[in-house]
Symmetry: C2
Subunit: 484 residues, 2 copies
C-alpha cells in the first residue's frame, strides 16, 4: 500500500542545516500580519482598518516614489521603440543606448557576462573612485550581484571550510541583519557574536571583538569579520577612527573583512559621516592597503533609490588571492548572470545625471527630498519614542530603522515564556493584533540577554509615521499597565 | 613582516566543494573566446572577423527579437507615466495596471511576497491547468524563482542530507546540462549518472536507470531523479510512455522527481509532443498522483521568449510534505524575492494575449515565426552536419542545440591527452582559433567513454547558421586530414 509509505523528502530526511535557518524580517509575525490582511479583506472586524508593515526596509511599499530618471531609462531599455518618443529627455536616451549597446543583440533579455556588464562595472568603479576621493578601483574587482544578499552569501560560501574545530567562524554584530545568521546556519559555518554597546549608541568596541574572538578560538577557526555600516537594525554610523581600529584588528587577527555598506547614503545625524572601509584602508597606507582582504557590498535597494524588487547590487573584492578570484568567477558563472534590469539600474545609480544634463535638476530634487524626508523621520521617530516611559531609543544615526529598547513587566515576560515565546515576540504579536502594526521583535536580530527591543522602519510618510508612533506609545502604556 | 603572511582566503583554505564545481557552458573555451574578441578589437589579425558564440542558449544575443507585447508591458510597469501614452495598446495597459496593483506602493521596485506575487502565481497555475488539459493546479504550490536554475538549486539543497554512505545521491542524465553536476558538487551530494542512448536518439532506458541505481545503492542514499525534457544538450522529447515508465520507476524506488521543462515549447520533430510530468502523473491515477513527489521547473529564458537576462522562472511542487514546504517557504524568504521584472514577465508568458485582444495578432505572429524559425534551423543543422564524414548528428527533436558525435583521429586524441586536454576540448579549441566559432565540447556535458561530441546552438539566423555549419564542416575535414 504505497500510500502508507513515508514521503521521500520529510522534515527528518531533509537538509538539517536548513532547519536551523531563521529569518525574522519575514518570519512568523509577518505571516500573521498577512493572515490578518486577508481577514480584513474578508470583512472580519478588527480594532483597525489596515495592517502597517513597518517590518521591512521596503521604501516603495511605504509610498516613496522611484527616481524618475531611473525609470525612464529602464522603460527605454525594456522597449527601445520609445527612443523615438519626444517625451524622454536626451540624457535618458543616451544612457539607454549605452546600456543596450553593451547587451547581446542590443537586448536586456540576453545573458550578460557572469561578472556583470563590463561598462556597468566601469561605472561602478568610477563611482567608488569619486566617492572615496580618488582611491583607485579596478573594474575587474567588481562583481555585479542579485542584490547585496547574493554577494554576501557567495563570499560566505567561499570562506566556509574545515570541520569540527577547524570549521570557519564568522564574527557578526549583535544585533545583526539576520541574513548573516541565516547564511551561516545554511552553510554550517560557526556564528561568533560580538555585541554592540547600546549605552554608547550601539558603538563597536575593539575589546568586545577581542573577547568574542578569544571565546571562539577553542571551538572553531575564526576567519571572517562582518560589519554593517551604517548598521542594521541599529543605524549607527562608524567613525573613521573606529573603522581604522576594526581594520587593524582584522589585520592582526587575520580575518577576512566583509563590509556591508548598503545604507551608505542614509546618514542623518550631525557629526556622522559615511567612510567606506576601502577608503580608510587605503589611507592607512600600503602595509594595510596591500594586504587586508576586504569585500564591500552595495545595493540598489536602499539609500534614496529604494529599488528592492529590481535586485541590483555589487561587491568589490580587495586583495583577493588570484586563484580564489578565479574560483569566484567560476562559481558565479553557474548562475549565468544577475538580472539585467538590476544591472542597468546599478549603472544609473553609480553614474547619475550630472550638472548641465537635462535630467539633473529633477534628479537632484528627488534625491534631496527623499534623503531629507528620511532624515526628518529618523529624528521624529527617536523623539517620539523617547517620550514613552519604558521605551528608550538611541539616535537613528543612519539606515532606515529604529531599534528601541522596551522595558517589559515581569508578568509579561513570564507569560511569554510559559507560551514558549520570546518576550518581545509576545509583545509584538499583541501589538499586531491590537493595532495592525507589524514590527519585528529584537530577538530576531539578537540582543544582550535580558534586554528586549523591536525594529521598526522609519519609512511610512511622516503623517502616517506620527500616527504609528502614537499608537505604539498608547499600546506600550496599555501593555505595561495591563501586565503590572 | 605582514606582507609575507599567507592570505586568509586561499585555494587551500577555501570551501573545498567549490573547487570541484565546473560549468562548461561558460568555462575555459568561452574565456578564450572572449579573449579572442578583445584581440580582434585591438586589431590582431585572425583568419576570421568575428567570434560566433554558439556555446550558450541565448536567443536574443543571436538576433532573436523580443516579443513586442512583453516589452511594452515591462516598459509600462517600469515607467507608469506611459499609461497615458496612446502608443500602447489597451491590453498592455490593462496588464501593466494589474501587475502594478499587486505591487507594494504600485511599484515594481517594492519587494514582493517571497514566494512571488500572488496574482502571478495564479496566472502560472491557470497556465499549467490549460496546458495540461484541466489537471488542477494550486497556486500555493507555485514558487516564482530567479530563473529555473534558482529553483533547481533550492530543491537540490533541500534534498541534500546524510553523510558518507547515507549521503543523498542524485541521478542525472548523461549528457546533462552542467548546472546539475555543478550544484551537486557545491552541495557535496553524490552524482549518479544514467546514460541516454545515442543510438536511440538519446532515448531514456529504464534498465539503464536501474543499473545506475543499483551501482549507487552501496555508496550513497539515492533519493532524487532528474529529467530534462525536452533534453539539454541532446534535444530529445520524451514520449508519454517513457514518462510513465520514469514515474513508475521513481515511485517504486522512492525517488524525488525533478522535471526540468524549460524547453517545453521548443518541440520540432514530427511525431514528438511535449507531455508535462504533472499531466502524465495525473493521468496515471490517484495511486501515483497522490503520492509521487515531483518538482517541475520552467523559465522565461527559452521557448519563444528568450528573455534570459530577466531571470524569470517558477517551480511547481507536487505532493511535498507540508513541513518541508514550510521550510522551503522559510528558505526562500531569506533572499526576499525574485526580481520583479522577471515575475511580471512570467505573468505575461503564462497569461498571454487572447484572440480578440488588441495585441493578439502581433503576438501570435511573433511567436509562430520564432518557433517556426527554430524548427527550420533544427532541421537544417541536423541535415548539414550529417553530410560531414565523421560527424553524426541525431535529429534535433526539441530544445535549442545540436549535440553531434565527432570521430577524432587517434593522433589527435593522443596529442590532446599529452596536453592534458579532453580530446573534444582540443578539437573545439582548434575550431575556435581557426574559425572564431565557439562551441562547447561534449566532455562538458558528459558522454559515454570513448565518444566525443560538441554542443552547438541552433540560434544564429538561418543564413549565418549555414555559414557556421559549412565552416564546421570544412574544419572537421581539415582536422581529420591533418591528424590522420
Amino acid at each position: 500500500m504505497r500510500r502508507l509509505l513515508r514521503k521521500v523528502l520529510t522534515i527528518d530526511t531533509m537538509n538539517a542545516n536548513i532547519k536551523k535557518v531563521e529569518y525574522a524580517v519575514r518570519g512568523p509575525i509577518v505571516q500573521r500580519a498577512v493572515q490578518i490582511e486577508k481577514e480584513l479583506k474578508e470583512g472580519v472586524k478588527k480594532p483597525f482598518n489596515e495592517v502597517i508593515k513597518a517590518n521591512i526596509g521596503d521604501a516603495h511599499a511605504m509610498g516613496q516614489r522611484p527616481v524618475t530618471f531611473f525609470r525612464q531609462v529602464l522603460a527605454l531599455c525594456s522597449y527601445p521603440e520609445l527612443l523615438d518618443d519626444d517625451k524622454f529627455p536626451e540624457d535618458t536616451k543616451y544612457r539607454a543606448q549605452r546600456i543596450l549597446k553593451a547587451c547581446g543583440g542590443s537586448s536586456i533579455g540576453a545573458y550578460t557576462a557572469s561578472q556583470g556588464i563590463e561598462c556597468v562595472r566601469q561605472d561602478v568603479s568610477r563611482y567608488i573612485e569619486r566617492r572615496d576621493g580618488g582611491v583607485p578601483c579596478d573594474p575587474d574587482n567588481i562583481y555585479l550581484t542579485t542584490g547585496a544578499s547574493d554577494g554576501i552569501v557567495t563570499m560566505l560560501k567561499l570562506l566556509t571550510a574545515g570541520e569540527g574545530r577547524t570549521r570557519t567562524g564568522v564574527m557578526i554584530p549583535i544585533p545583526q541583519y539576520p541574513l548573516y545568521s541565516a547564511a551561516i546556519a545554511e552553510l554550517g559555518a560557526v556564528q561568533l557574536n560580538y555585541y554592540l554597546d547600546e549605552d554608547k549608541c550601539w558603538g563597536l568596541d575593539i575589546s568586545e571583538l577581542q573577547r568574542s574572538l578569544q571565546a571562539a578560538s577553542k571551538h572553531c577557526n575564526p576567519r571572517v569579520l562582518c560589519i554593517i555600516n551604517p548598521g542594521n537594525p541599529t543605524g549607527q554610523v562608524q567613525s573613521r577612527e573606529r573603522i581604522e581600529d576594526v581594520i587593524r584588528f582584522a589585520a592582526k587577527e587575520r580575518l577576512f573583512l566583509m563590509a556591508d555598506e548598503v545604507y551608505q547614503d542614509n546618514v542623518y545625524a550631525e557629526g556622522c559621516k559615511f567612510y567606506s572601509f576601502k577608503k580608510v584602508l587605503y589611507e592607512m597606507g600600503p602595509e594595510y592597503f596591500n594586504t587586508v582582504e576586504l569585500a564591500s557590498f552595495h545595493s540598489t535597494s536602499k539609500c534614496y533609490m529604494g529599488e528592492c524588487g529590481m535586485r541590483g547590487g555589487y561587491m568589490e573584492v580587495i586583495n583577493m588571492d588570484s586563484e580564489v578570484k578565479a574560483q569566484l568567477t567560476k562559481l558565479v558563472s553557474v548562475r549565468l548572470c544577475p538580472p539585467v534590469p538590476g544591472q542597468a539600474l546599478m549603472a544609473l545609480v553609480t553614474n547619475s545625471p550630472q550638472p548641465g544634463e537635462p535630467s539633473h535638476a529633477q534628479f537632484l530634487k528627488e534625491r534631496t527630498a527623499t534623503l531629507g524626508d528620511l532624515a526628518q523621520k529618523a529624528k521624529l521617530t527617536e523623539e517620539i519614542l523617547n517620550t514613552v516611559p519604558g521605551i528608550r531609543c538611541n539616535p537613528v544615526q543612519g539606515a532606515m530603522y529604529s531599534f528601541p529598547q522596551i522595558t517589559l513587566p515581569e508578568r509579561a515576560i513570564r507569560e511569554a515564556k510559559e507560551k514558549g515565546q520570546a518576550p518581545d515576540m509576545f509583545y509584538c504579536m499583541k501589538l499586531l493584533e491590537e493595532t495592525g502594526i507589524c514590527l519585528v521583535p529584537g530577538s530576531g536580530f539578537g540582543q544582550k540577554e535580558g534586554t528586549y527591543h523591536f525594529r521598526m522602519t522609519i519609512l511610512p510618510p511622516a503623517d502616517k509615521l506620527k500616527i504609528l508612533l502614537s499608537k505604539v506609545k498608547e499600546f506600550h502604556q496599555r501593555f505595561t499597565k495591563c501586565y503590572s
